[in-house]
Amino acid sequence: MVESKHKWKAWLYLAPAIALLLVFTVWPIFNTLRMAFWEDYSIMKDLGGRLDFKFGIKNFVKVINYQGFKDCLVNTLLLTVLTVPISTLLALLIAVCLNAIKPLQRLLQTIFFLPYVTNSIAIGMVFEAMFNIVGYKTPEESIGIINTVLGVFGVDPINWINAGSSYWANIAVLVIYIVWNALPFKILILLGGLQSINKQYYDAAKIDSTPRVRVFTKITVPLLSPMLAYVVITGFIGGFKEYSSIVGIFGDDMQAVGGESLNTMVGYIYDALGNQEGRASAAALILFAIIFVVTMINLYVSKKKTHY
């Protein structure tokens, strides 16, 4: 009697979650698959009552052959391949340094976490302002604070993001912003990992006159490898889904005026919504496949390299 009452209650507690998950999580899994294989599906046709879509892989073929998608893929890969190693190494360096100091450690730790609690669109606009050249032609006007600072070191002003700026200058700005944005999470995780390493290993290394570099490569990095793997894997996943940082700096157009498009895969998917849901679904599945494969490779490698 009590038992059956229990079971009934459990489902009651779960009902709201399950109902919402069925509509907004489970159904999308099937429907996105279906839409991806419905040739030229769009919601307009769907709402108009046209449901005689042919079944096939035309969406995938179109997406893959479409130059815009290839550009998005290249941009995404480029940003991921550049930002993940840079941000991971920098975060590791900062975390190790933070772990080696005593006074001011907490203050610095808090400062390094600050970028996490920001709105990536809002701070993207700040970066836009910092790289922006206000009045390039007249010497009385600002060439942007970044160029001003670089000028101190004798670097000529660079057209980072304004009209006529080069693709690589745009990418450089994005890499700087994405790395800046990615550091806090990585530092938090890595510092947590470092602090959980038993201090005795370092004492033992000291007794054995181990040089600093060797302590780092032979003790710190191996003992930190699970955390490093975690940070790299989440970094890759985040990298492939890069979108709002670019909107933050370059706006909805996702390009400098007259420049090359900086759109990413996620951006491509969103742009296709509204008239090309079939292709959006196909692109999303391709993105999922890439993330899945890369994550599996990462896991495989890290299993071989990590030590626990």
Binding site: D203, I207, D208, S209, T210, P222, L223, S225
Partner: protein
């Protein structure tokens, strides 16, 4: 290599800054450890024995005093430059390296003219492994070893670079009772074979007594007594040392010396010539009691513990500071102990008197 500690002092600043209380972990420790000896630093937890060890290793800096290895003043040298071997209480074996890699690690750190060829390193690593009898386990990871095996790896790692001084921090505390007995013999054997000056820290007096050439008894940062284990046991300088050494522990009584006689509960139990009249603590070792029907000291018998060859008589006495008074007597003598009381005479050299205020030893002439 002899190790000399000169007025060694360590003061830890108080954690609570407002209270401004400093903790003196080690206070004015002076001692010369002869070359090639095995020294046990002994004391209850918090007595400063581990701090002393860490100062010798260089991992902690003394607040005052000097440390010499041989004739060299190494006080200012950090751990990296001292060339000591240290076995940590929890072994601190690198979990991601095999036993072999762990043992090789210190050798790979040598540079300059001390740099070794690869096969020489391997050779040395296997020698060290053989010495502690783990050469079969070289390819295993520490997590695949038992506690005793990990302990041996830790010792091999400390020995492989042929340290001037070997330091062991509570080396046996993580082992079970049987393994502990076995391993302490092992440590003794390895120390004898290598002849390396060895200092080890323990809170277990039995352990220290059984293998050390000399023991140092510490309490609250202050050295109480230094000497060969048997000497310290037979001739403690104060009440603390007397109480700390020996199982079963020494029996302590409140008493008084009057006219060259020791009175316990107003009964004269022993002649103590040469002692001024004063209130004292009297410590009597369990083996200092001789059952004697005409003995002056009468205790109430409450039980008999048979321990094989010997028998421990559990008694009470009104002047005793402990709940029970234990004596160890041979089994034959114990057969007579059947009544409500038991009478003893005392072995004078097993009785120690201590000043009641300073708790320092008060010596009397033993005939």
């Amino acid at each position: 290599m002899k190790v000399v500690l000169q007025n060694l002092t360590k003061i830890f600043p108080s954690r609570n800054k407002k209270a401004n209380e400093e903790v003196v972990a080690v206070n004015d420790f002076t001692f010369e450890i002869p070359d090639g000896k095995l020294i046990g630093l002994l004391g209850p937890s918090g007595c400063g024995k581990s701090t002393t060890l860490y100062m010798i290793s260089g991992l902690q800096k003394p607040s005052g005093g000097r440390i010499f290895f041989g004739d060299d003043d190494v006080t200012e040298l950090s751990a990296e430059n001292r060339g000591v071997g240290l076995v940590f209480q929890n072994y601190a074996l690198y979990p991601h390296m095999t036993v072999k890699q762990n043992i090789l690690f210190p050798l790979q750190n040598l540079k300059g003219e001390d740099k070794l060829e690869k096969d020489v390193m391997l050779d040395r690593a296997y020698q060290a492994a053989k010495l502690v009898q783990i050469d079969e386990l070289m390819e295993r990871k520490p997590s695949e070893l038992s506690g005793g095996q990990q302990q041996r790896v830790a010792i091999a790692r400390a020995l492989v670079k042929m340290p001037k001084v070997l330091l062991l921090d509570e080396p046996l505390s993580n082992l079970d009772a049987r393994l502990r007995l076995q391993t302490r013999e092992e440590i003794r054997r390895i120390q004898k074979e290598t002849g390396i000056t060895t200092i080890f820290v323990t809170h277990d007096q039995e352990e220290a007594m059984s293998i050390s050439d000399m023991i140092v008894v510490m309490k609250l940062g202050v050295v109480q007594q230094i000497g060969a284990p048997q000497d310290v046991y037979d001739d403690p300088t104060n009440l603390f040392v007397a109480k700390f050494l020996g199982t079963p522990p020494i029996n302590v009584f409140e008493g008084e010396v009057k006219a060259g006689k020791l009175y316990l509960d107003d009964v004269a139990v022993l002649d103590v010539p040469g002692v001024e009249d004063q209130p004292v603590y009297a410590g009597i070792r369990p083996e200092g009691f001789i059952p004697d029907a005409f003995g002056p000291m009468i205790c109430n018998l409450s039980g008999v513990d048979v321990m094989g060859r010997d028998v421990s008589l559990v008694t009470t006495h009104p002047a005793s500071l402990n709940p029970v008074v234990r004596s160890i007597v041979d089994a034959d003598a114990a057969k007579n102990a059947t009544g409500l009381t038991v009478s003893y005479s005392l072995k004078p050299h097993k009785v120690f008197l201590f000043n009641k205020e300073t708790e320092a030893r008060v010596y009397f002439e033993v005939k």
